[in-house]
Symmetry: C2
Subunit: 201 residues, 2 copies
């Protein structure tokens, strides 16, 4: 789908193919330059060369610029588990969830991953939001495992191991020196966690 | 230590032996009656029969009324791990952490546990703060395990199993129909998680 030739009535969304990405990059630049707390939505929109109303078509507030893909990720994790083969163990299903989630970790996203991690690490409000994001991943996977008939406790433990693998893979992937894809890093991380768990006393 | 007979100069804290508890109960009542968002610090202080400045001697803001004991808990969990016997496995050390944390789960705290859980469940901002609290428990235990020489990955997995056991025990303990003490519930929950983990595939 390319730019639309239609002249929209005033107030209707214009087609801005890369607005979301421009807003994210502008926000990350400003957060790095002047801090999250001192950055306003208007400044982000201006830096991106867009209007405040374009900002609010894409994001509820400045915090959500950093947490935009969460519903998509929850959906991919749950789908991965739902689509795992019939005989898959809970941890096999979690591996399938991580493999499905890998679809969104494209190179364009990797470019801004270090700035994203730095912005979150620098602010306690954002670290809280990040903690909730991970809790959301765990809930999405736990619920998807339950729907496969996995009892509550193993579902919850397998889901949290998936979250630990996810966090581990994401921070490795965000390292520009790391040449591996997210899917491969997540697979490795979960495999290492399975070994850890098997040896845990 | 009883009420002080000393006449404090103006502006200095008077001895209000149960101020903290009165503020917490007042806050929980108001959150239940009119919702967290619509409750102000002034209303909480008034309901408790105290002043706004007394409120701020005890809590940074209304949200922290619900999350006040976190530093104490982090400290107890870390101490429990530090003081576990030399030969303790990582999960034995986590069991010692939960046993140490049990010290603060006294009957007075149990009385308001259901209202506390209800207030948190009803508000997304509070659920975020709760998620951060649990992340804080995991970090405190992971760090304490590392100081015992446990490598990163088993330290992290054991700590998160401790967090799952903690959350499980707390929600059972908050049920007025449950006759067991927190320490016993946490011990059971961790034991069940160890079995789950041993069987997880």
């Amino acid at each position: 789908m390319g730019p639309s030739p239609i002249a929209y009535p005033e107030g209707m969304a214009r087609w801005e193919p890369d607005a979301r990405d421009r807003l994210l990059r502008a926000a990350l630049d400003l957060f790095a330059e002047q801090g999250y707390d001192d950055t306003t939505v208007i400044q982000i929109a201006q830096r991106a060369g867009l209007t405040k109303s374009t900002f609010f078509r894409h994001f509820r507030d400045k915090r959500e610029v950093l947490f935009g893909g969460q519903d998509t990720l929850n959906g991919l994790l749950a789908e991965g588990i739902a689509n795992a083969p019939d005989g898959a163990t809970p941890l096999d299903a979690v591996a399938a969830a991580l493999a499905a989630a890998a679809a969104i970790f494209i190179p364009a996203r990797r470019d801004y991953a270090p700035a994203l991690l730095a912005a979150i690490a620098a602010n306690s409000e954002l670290r809280e939001r990040e903690a909730l994001k991970y809790t959301g991943f765990a809930e999405a996977m736990t619920e998807a495992l339950r729907r496969r008939g996995v009892p509550d406790r193993p579902a919850s433990v397998a889901a949290w191991l998936g979250v630990l693998a996810f966090g581990d893979a994401y921070s490795r992937w965000a390292d520009p020196a790391n040449p591996h894809e997210f899917g491969e890093l997540a697979r490795q991380a979960l495999q290492e966690l399975r070994t850890t768990v098997a040896e845990l006393r």
